[in-house]
Symmetry: C2
């Protein structure tokens, strides 16, 4: 199945590229201001994940965030780093530090999803 280059995809990709933080569907919808349907945004984001362009991180606020991670573009989809969510400004960032968890014997890991939430430097009290 060949991909086509549509305005919605271009816009969303551009947003992800220029954003310093990971974005959720509702953030993208807000910024697009009716340029694309809610469902289209979800479908575009899922397609980006399928194609390995972005990775999805599920936050403890119940939403999925999407990011083009630098590391993921080099290696094959290595998003085993920590993520930070500011409870005040809602910013979501990929942290540098790698997650290193040791599992009990016989267990195998498919996916890692690690979050720290709190106040970022700008929002701290």
């Amino acid at each position: 199945m060949k991909r086509r280059n549509t305005p919605a995809q271009q816009a969303i990709l551009a947003m992800l590229k220029s954003s310093p933080s990971a974005l959720s569907q509702d953030m993208i919808e807000q910024q697009l201001k009716g340029e694309a349907d809610r469902v289209t945004i979800y479908r575009v984001l899922n397609r980006f994940c399928e194609d390995g362009l972005t990775h999805r991180i599920v936050s403890d606020d119940g939403k999925s965030y999407f990011a083009l991670c630098k590391k993921c573009e080099k290696h094959h989809h290595a998003h085993d780093h920590f993520h930070f969510r500011c409870v005040h400004c809602q910013k979501v960032e990929c942290l540098e530090e790698e997650v290193k968890a040791s599992l009990p014997a016989g267990y195998s890991a498919l996916n890692v999803n690690c979050w720290v939430s709190g106040y970022c430097a700008e929002c701290r009290v």
Copy 2:
């Protein structure tokens, strides 16, 4: 506000105490088989969290899981350990290992939510 001791709360607390893994609302509802309403289960679980009896962990399957953690009963609510979810049998476990993430300067952490999903020893292929 004084708490009252109701059958629903007793049943849910007993389930959590006897369960080796963390439980979600739907798991509890299934096991209770109509003994308590869906909403009641949510309210009981939230109350347990407010009272520091349980801690809530939000999984990357989009659901909240609740556990009475041994460590949490001693210290004040230390649930900064890794959690494991088996993608096959759905079991959710608290792992021993503590999460150690270093944040950028000026950041402060309120909450940590770390998941590894994959196959547990029983379900591994």
